[in-house]
């Protein structure tokens, strides 16, 4: 992604074994990783690539195509002034992915938000419950098959 100095246009060598595909578009680098290896990839990013901060975790619903959900991680390296986007695709049938809370503690709320609004389960998450909607809410509002006005 956008950098202070020279732009990172290619996937760093440390991340090569995890990268399924990669794209450099509008000054931002996106690397797609397999969902089962996302924790390893994140650990590598934090350790040897110095991405100390996790900016966001979010998801995009590609309904009705399959795999339905893209889980998007925005990483930020404060020391190297770099940004990177990791992406993992999971299917719409009982979507689940490993939690990265063990790597960055900040993932806790970000993943809870995605769980609440998209219904994607994060395995090994310390406190996976709804964060935005009331606990007794039914459905996941940010899914594309959920009406904007809700079911009132």
């Amino acid at each position: 992604m956008e950098t202070g100095g020279a732009a990172v246009m290619e996937v760093p060598a440390e991340l090569q074994p995890f990268a399924l595909t990669s794209k450099f578009d509008r000054g931002e680098l996106t690397v797609e990783v397999a969902p089962e290896r996302v924790v390893e990839a994140c650990r590598e990013c934090k350790g040897s690539l110095h991405f100390e901060r996790l900016s966001t975790v979010t998801a995009v619903d590609r309904y009705p195509s399959e795999p339905r959900f893209e889980i998007v991680y925005h990483l930020h390296s404060v020391s190297l002034n770099r940004r990177l986007r990791l992406k993992a695709r999971v299917s719409g049938e009982s979507p689940a992915i490993d939690s990265v809370t063990a790597v960055w503690r900040s993932a806790n709320w970000y993943e809870r938000e995605v769980f609440d609004l998209f219904g994607i389960t994060f395995l090994n998450h310390p406190n996976l419950r709804r964060i935005m909607m009331p606990d007794e809410w039914v459905g996941h509002p940010l899914r594309k098959d959920y009406p904007v006005e809700g079911y009132k």
């Binding site: 935005m132 909607m133 009331p134 509002p141 959920y146 009406p147 904007v148 006005e149 809700g150 079911y151 009132k152």
Partner: protein, 187 residues
């Protein structure tokens, strides 16, 4: 005797119970600090020096519902917040009033979404609605004055029927006006 002679006019007034109670109630409204979103900032601004809500006797913002008699719902009420709001309203002692400040709390505002209550009047009775997103402090003051007018109509001892009843003369007047309006050149 001479000591109190001619002293009554200056010191004693004859009035009705309603008048005194209403005057007391409307001149010292204690609003609840109930800021929800953007409108809360304008509500705070209305209590500062440029606007100065104290001119209307409503500057004593109370954090506790039990000490206040006016709830200014300032901001978006979500479905998660709704039960809390209702509970706080129930905790306020009677008589109490409610101003719905801003488009969000009146009708949902720009948020016609799954999470937002489309109008706070679905859960609490609203006395005055204020339009705007967010309303200026002046708008809030206008609502406050309207509320004071409304409080003036209250009765303390006798319960007045709440519904408006048309009497015969009003109806006749109304018909007369319509007829006048329909005639091109009334005599």
């Amino acid at each position: 005797m001479s000591l109190i002679q001619n002293q009554f006019d200056q010191n004693v007034i004859t009035t009705s119970v309603d008048y005194v109670f209403n005057w007391a109630r409307k001149s010292a409204l204690w609003p609840l600090t109930f800021g929800l979103a953007c409108c809360a900032i304008e509500m705070i601004a209305s209590s500062t020096s440029r606007f100065d809500i104290a001119r209307f006797g409503a500057e004593v913002f109370r954090p506790s519902p039990r000490q206040s008699d006016l709830m200014i719902v300032a901001g978006t009420v979500t479905l998660k917040m709704g039960p809390v709001l209702k509970r706080i309203w129930d905790q306020m002692p009677d008589p109490k009033w409610c101003i719905s400040m801003g488009a969000c709390s009146s009708v949902g505002g720009p948020f016609n979404t799954y999470g937002v209550l489309q109008g706070v009047d679905k859960i609490v009775p609203v006395d005055v609605y204020v339009a705007g997103c967010p309303p200026r402090p002046e708008n809030l003051f206008y609502a406050l004055l309207k509320l004071q007018d409304k409080i003036d109509q209250m009765t303390t001892l006798v319960k007045r029927p709440t519904e408006v009843r048309l009497d015969e003369s009003m109806l006749a007047d109304f018909k007369q006006q319509i007829m006048v309006a329909q005639i091109q050149n009334p005599a």
